[in-house]
């Protein structure tokens, strides 16, 4: 049984990664999960310098999902390179760095600083709904998306994943734009934009009013978008959005994903990533799938 996949030239021992922002820098979950088992660890978003993020409350629960408005709090790329990469490199797993910025220059700045870093791929987050200054505009405007992709691509030494926002009329338009911009892979979906109101206090539960909506509730939107994008571009896809178990992961692969990422499910079950891997293996065994690659885009 072969569970390995190749994404933009990088070999992953299995298709399962972590979703940026839900797994810290890997260290936090290393008590709960053997990181050696993961295809890859996608670390939380890093920017050129420290960001403090949004005020609290940053977290709200919804029916089958959650909202977050962390606002990309991060210590900056320098601290990340110094502290987190050496930790992760002790494990046999791929390292993917999610990068954040408010301007094209900031994104490029992070990519430059990562040029000599010992990482495997870069994931360009052009879709965080929680940062007002720019992120979202990049993710919802095809021209901007293409431009920022091409600029970061110029300076990135590692294969470049671009992470797409689901909060758009036509996700294939954005996908084609980042493909034209030189992306090596796309990942989707980032969070939907949601709101929850405390009806007794008559104010939004999140200090930021709105937040990114994730978790099992959003899976049907994610699967649909992965399938749409699969049918419209040639790049490999990392699919995510509500994946909780092996069956969910298989659904994304059949829809067209080569890799899958586990996000909110980690909060529901700290062992979720390993459960997903084991679930994929069980499915392959019971269905007689020899190579996990057979599944990619296998939906009729």
């Amino acid at each position: 049984m072969n569970t390995s996949v190749n994404i933009a030239g990088i070999d992953f021992k299995n298709p399962v990664m972590t979703a940026s922002g839900t797994f810290g820098s890997g260290k936090e979950y290393s008590e709960f999960v053997d990181l050696n088992r993961l295809g890859g660890v996608v670390v939380k978003g890093v920017a050129s310098k420290e960001w403090l993020g949004n005020p609290v409350p940053r977290i709200a629960e919804t029916y089958g999902g959650m909202l977050n408005a962390v606002g990309l709090q991060n210590p900056g790329v320098d601290v990340f390179i110094e502290e987190d990469i050496p930790f992760l490199r002790k494990y046999d797993t791929k390292i993917i760095v999610n990068i954040a910025g408010k301007t094209v220059d900031e994104y490029v700045g992070v990519a430059k600083k990562l040029q000599d870093a010992d990482i495997d791929m870069i994931e360009l987050n052009i879709s965080c709904p929680n940062v007002k200054e720019g992120g979202v505009a990049f993710g919802t405007d095809p021209k901007m998306a293409e431009y920022v992709t091409s600029q970061v691509k110029k300076h990135a030494k590692q294969p470049l994943i671009v992470k797409l926002s689901p909060n758009v009329t036509d996700i294939t338009e954005i996908a084609r734009a980042v493909e034209a911009g030189g992306a090596d892979c796309v990942s989707l979906i980032n969070t939907l934009l949601g709101m929850k109101i405390d009806i007794y206090k008559r104010k939004p539960v999140l200090a930021n009013r709105v937040g990114g909506f994730s978790g099992p509730a959003i899976k049907p939107v994610a699967v649909r978008m992965v399938n749409q994008v699969y049918n419209s571009i040639k790049l490999p896809i990392i699919g995510l959005g509500g994946i909780c178990n092996g069956e969910d992961a298989i659904e994304f692969m059949l829809a067209g994903a080569t890799g899958v990422a586990v996000g909110t499910a980690n909060f529901m079950n700290p062992r979720a990533t390993v459960d997903v891997i084991e679930g994929i293996e069980r499915y392959m065994e019971s269905m007689g799938v020899k190579d996990v690659g057979e599944l990619i885009g296998g939906v009729e």
Partner: protein, 258 residues
């Protein structure tokens, strides 16, 4: 596959689950690993059975019985998750993860002051059990009380209620001033305004204080950066963000910016 060296969610049997005050429940579960490893001030993630509620509920450890492998939590019904917990019966099972966070640092002082407000009181019980030296406990409640009998086994206890139904009428900080609380360390847990008053008082009295904070959590283990608080720092802003779940929930009062 083998996960022997890794921590995980654990099933636990509910030994008892009874209402000890209006909407306040005390649940005893059998969970040896937590009982053996827990320190006062740490918490556990309690998972809901309802699949609509996907996030764990952080609840402080109130007491542990290492020998019997028992863990006690005391919680108030404030929403659907705690409502769900209150409906469980002895014999039912529940999933938990812990112990999580850093507990109180037990200082070997002659005299300690312990200040709890409402459902902030529970984590102080295991603390008081383990504290050396003299200890005075001040508990504040809206109306009614719970756990004061348990605290009285280990220390002198003073109670204040907002409505004066039990003990002194007024808040617990006023009560402390009245009684003239003295000691070389304050340990406290309760609502934010109370903790802010405790911090002020500690500064006035020039005693150290450890306070336990609360914040909305995603993961409870330091990964989501959902639960931050402002901690004084020597940088431009004058503060950094720390995680209540991983760096706390107990912090040095001097460092916390409300």
């Amino acid at each position: 596959m083998c996960q022997d060296n890794f921590r995980d969610k654990q099933g636990a049997e509910i030994i008892s689950n009874v209402e000890i005050a209006d909407n306040v429940y005390r649940m005893v579960i059998r969970q040896e690993e937590i009982a053996v490893n827990a320190k006062a001030g740490q918490f556990i993630n309690v998972y809901c059975k309802a699949e609509s509620r996907i996030l764990p509920r952080p609840i402080s450890i109130c007491e542990v019985d290492r020998d019997k492998g028992l863990v006690t939590i005391v919680y108030m019904i404030v929403g659907m998750g705690t409502k769900e917990f209150s409906d469980l019966d002895s014999g039912d099972r529940i999933e938990v993860l812990g112990p999580l966070g850093n507990g109180f640092k037990i200082k070997d002082c002659d005299e300690s002051i312990i200040v709890g407000g409402g459902v902030g009181a529970p984590p102080l019980l295991e603390l008081v059990k383990n504290l050396p030296g003299k200890k005075k406990v001040f508990l504040g409640f809206k109306s009614g009380e719970f756990l004061t009998k348990e605290f009285e086994k280990y220390a002198e206890v003073h109670v204040a209620t907002d409505d004066g139904s039990i003990g002194e009428k007024g808040n617990v900080v006023e009560l402390m001033e009245k009684v003239g609380a003295k000691g070389s360390m304050i340990y406290s847990c309760g609502p934010k305004p109370m903790l802010a008053a405790v911090k002020d008082m500690a500064e006035r009295l020039e005693v150290d204080a450890q306070i336990s904070l609360e914040e909305r959590m995603g993961c409870g283990i330091g990964a989501c950066v959902g639960c931050i608080c402002k901690i004084k720092a020597d940088n431009e802003l004058g503060y950094i963000h720390k995680k209540v779940c991983k760096d706390g929930p107990v912090f040095d009062a001097k460092e916390v910016m409300f």
